[in-house]
Amino acid sequence: MSTLLQIHEPGETPLPHEGERGIAVGIDLGTTNSVVAIAPTPEPEVLRDMHGTGLVPSVVHYARDGSVTVGSGAAAKMPEDPANTVASVKRLMGRGRADLKSLAGTLPYALDADDTAGGMVRLSVAGRNLTPVEVSADILRALKTRAEERTDSKVDRAVITVPAYFDDAARTATRDAARLAGLEVLRLVNEPTAAALAYGLDSGAEGLYAIFDLGGGTFDVSVLRLEKGVFQVVATGGDAALGGDDFDHAIAERLLRERGIAKPDLKAVRAALATARRIKEALTDADKAGGILDIGGARTEHTLERKELETMIAPLVRRTTAICASVIEDAGVAPTEIAGIVLVGGSTRVPLVRRAVEEFYGRAPLADIDPDEVVAVGAALQAHALTEGEGTLLLDVTPLSLGIETMGGIVEKVIPRNTPIPVALAQEFTTYQDGQTGMTIHVVQGERETVDACRSLARFELKGFPSMKAGAARIRVTFALDADGLLTVNASERTTGTGAQIEVKPSYGLSEDEMIGMLRASMEHAEEDMTRRLLIEARVEGGRVLAALGSALAADGALATPAERRAMAAVAARLKVAIDGEDRDLVNGLIEELERVGKPFAQRRIDRAINQALAGHSLDEIEAGMAPEAAPEGAAARDAAGTGS
């Protein structure tokens, strides 16, 4: 018999046309600096510039002539053109203007005050009106270009890291930025989790780990459990507005005071911050350090002792350990149960920070991997794991509680924070007025008890259920969060089955129209990419169907008549050719055709199994010996549920 069908081991369906996809990278999109890495090559590798620098300053300069500079080039332009140089844009991701009152006076670039088009904040730079999403996309584009130049291949997918407490709006904004830059986001991974991944691979240790991440602008602490190659996030916490920049600000304020400047302009602030940072870095090793503050050619000399610095920043450092304590309490463990502490972020180089961490946990933290690069390394490892379907598995939790508004503006939580995802949880609500036939479902995110203290994500109406007495209706609201943290909310009235559903797109995100407009403007070929992806899906599906038929024929081939075999082989051959081609509809059509001609054969296989079952053999019994090594529990589950024995 001719072997038109290739037979593969069960579960080993090969992915057709592997080479056609670009490579996937890991990106740490930081407030101050960003890093891109790839894995494994054979070791994970940070992609550096020709000077060996892995850090790309997260700074973008917009020139009047329309040219865009990212990284150290943009940072160099900051002193002379601060109004058109955007730094720390990460702090604005997913923020509405109302969120920014506290930041307003401190930003060197202008926020567009007239904008009413949407809730998202906009920046006015170089005569352009930009969203933080577009600025982040420019940074991502530069990282993508660096990766493509270094690896000499197309880069089209990425794992991007975000702070653990980033809410839905900020996560969506990050995703949108990646799309604009022509990158498909394989997964947004929490920064501390990525750092743990980088260490987990090297040490192979098991137990509970705390990840202490003090970056330029954000603070994160997480407790993770590592068990048999699986990372589980047990609890997370943090502060979106606490970081090494605050240390710089404290020093800069003192410098300006010493200089006698009460109302510094932008240039003075920038210059003072730059000097402050140099002094802070010098104080990592020295007890005393000096620096020159140069504002428009007028120079003054300043010195600072490490002790003085520590007095200045002590309240900030205390805030980090207070957050550590509450996360530990959330995790339900004692500080001494933590088997290791991983340090992340350049600000963990500050000696007082290290001392505070060591004191709190009662042990010295790990710092073998450069704390500025460890997150990108972990992201790269996860990008590898997600494209290969192997390696370390990440079990993530939702960082913030999700709930709906009830009477009086009180929030009823449906999914509490730190719940493992993906997850689907339901709660029942009822009406509060006689004759009520509709209900507004207001979806919110946050830890507070009242709606106005939480972030509003979406609103939708459940309408048209019959009039009932107050409290008689049974409205079941289901929240489903997928592995990527995308939320779908479903509401239905149970006595009548009236239903409504919404995919939550945070109100601070960009609308689909805005997104498409930007995609066009950025000349990325969105539609082409989509068509390509659908074609790849169809090819994978076709490969799956061919392999499944191959396995079936190998197992029960005798049950097919020669005519059936010929018919199946003929369609299979056409499908194989179609998979090599470009016509997605043809692939899908032939998949259906193959399933159709294979039906009598499938029916005979089922009939035989039923007859065997009727003869006293349980199929589960037959399979028991063939269970894939799903761990002994798999077999145990089967035994417990055994039907025939």
Binding site: G11, T13, R225, G389, V423, A613, I622, E623, A631, R638
Partner: protein, 214 residues
């Protein structure tokens, strides 16, 4: 997926049809033994989903180990190179596993779930009144003492007493389930719920006292 006559024809014999190769597959199998495709999750209870019998006395470490082992095999990330259908099924499995693990890892929720399996109303979420008169008096006294506690030490003493009570009640709950005494288990679960709530109140009180200038 077009559910065919083959699927329904197989009903009731412990045999289902694999959605991928259309051959016979066991109702509770995770993977098809012929083509290796992941099968949809069945409607197991939470214990069975993790390969356990329905009992209160389970080892935390063993539970975690099982949860992790199943996730290793069933998580959607493990199906990155597989077809979309399998990734969707994997997601359903993981949702069920997460639900099962969350329901079982906390003794209170596990106890409530066992009562639910036995067809009894669990005394956790909704119960707003206390039928148990002794528990009512004890709870009121405890709360009064807490609201009067003026120092962190006093709060710590009260919280410590409550924690001891909680440990004792938990041990008794284990015995009650072992003896299949569901009335006693129900009573103890209610008691534990109030002790837990008290622990939260004590934490809040502690936070208030800690913030006040000495």
């Amino acid at each position: 997926m077009n559910d065919t006559a083959t699927d329904s024809a197989a009903d009731g014999n412990g045999v289902g049809a694999c959605w991928s190769c259309h051959g016979p597959v066991g109702r509770v199998a995770l993977f098809c033994h012929v083509c290796g495709a992941l099968q949809p999750p069945d409607r197991s209870d939470h214990f069975r989903r993790l390969g356990l019998g329905a009992r209160f006395d389970i080892d935390d470490k063993d539970l975690l180990r099982r949860y992790v082992a199943f996730q290793q095999r069933l998580h959607p990330d493990r199906f990155a190179r597989k077809s979309k259908k399998e990734r969707v099924l994997a997601e359903r499995h993981t949702v069920s596993l997460n639900e099962a693990y969350e329901a079982l890892k906390d003794p209170l929720r596990r106890g409530a779930y066992l009562l639910q399996l036995a067809g009894r109303a669990a005394p956790t979420e909704e119960a707003r009144t206390i039928d148990d008169h002794d528990l009512l008096m004890e709870t009121l006294e405890r709360r009064e003492a807490l609201s009067e506690a003026a120092s962190l030490d006093a709060v710590a003493t009260l919280a410590g007493q409550a924690a001891k009570e909680e440990a004792r009640a938990l041990a008794a709950l284990e015995d009650a389930f072992a003896a299949d005494d569901l009335d006693e288990a129900t009573r103890l679960l209610t008691r534990l719920r109030y002790l837990k709530k008290f622990a939260e109140e004590a934490r809040a009180r502690r936070a208030v006292l800690a913030e006040q200038p000495a």
